[in-house]
Amino acid sequence: GAGVSQSPSNKVTEKGKDVELRCDPISGHTALYWYRQSLGQGLEFLIYFQGNSAPDKSGLPSDRFSAERTGGSVSTLTIQRTQQEDSAVYLCASSSLLAGGTDTQYFGPGTRLTVL
């Protein structure tokens, strides 16, 4: 079946503008994650949604970052007043949580954000 999809694949914006990044998880997956991948820095956790529970926002780097998940499916990551240090690849992953916690997180191809 279809994997995780993200749009746009590339986004170039000017400093100070707001951007929205979209993630379509695998159908039926209850868990959705956002990570940020900066050059040479690995993947950094941003936020996690599980079903109807309150999201885990512990990884969001500042209050300029927010995310929502509508209807338990599609998610949008919003970055307000973008800064140059926000330039990175933003990755979304989804999973079907299993008992014991060894769910596999399936990643989308990412959105490459460049802030000029």
């Binding site: 990570y35 820095q41 690995g42 956790f45 599980q50 916690g101 769910d103 596999t104 990643f107 191809p109």
Partner: protein, 114 residues
């Protein structure tokens, strides 16, 4: 701070060689250790994963060795092929302390030469 330390940053081996990538962690609450493989322009994909109750897990040419007392784990790629050239990330997670989010190492760029 980086909860999982990965080395080396880059690695070049000849076809048929056995690259080894190492990771270390401090949080003894971690209870799940996956390795992800990422090709350019793609998202990471799960390669193999281990729980701390076993010392080794093998899937095809990929083996994880896990040393709980040393808080270290490593990935070995047997009979490496040029198609294995990619970036490899180790990760760790503690459901008890941090939910299901993964803590990733910084990655190892592997090049397998023909």
């Amino acid at each position: 701070q980086q909860q999982v330390k990965q080395s080396p940053q880059s690695l070049i081996v000849q076809k048929g060689g056995i690259p080894i990538i190492n990771c270390a962690y401090e949080n003894t609450a971690f209870d799940y250790f996956p390795w992800y493989q990422q090709f350019p322009g793609k998202g990471p994909a799960l390669l193999i994963a281990i729980r701390p109750d076993v010392s080794e897990k093998k899937e095809g040419r990929f083996t994880i060795s896990f040393n709980k007392s040393a808080k270290q784990f490593s990935l070995h790629i047997m009979d490496s092929q040029p198609g294995d050239s990619a970036t490899y990330f180790c990760a760790a997670r503690s459901i008890r302390n941090s939910g299901y989010a993964l803590n990733f190492g910084k990655g190892t760029s592997l090049l397998v030469t023909p």
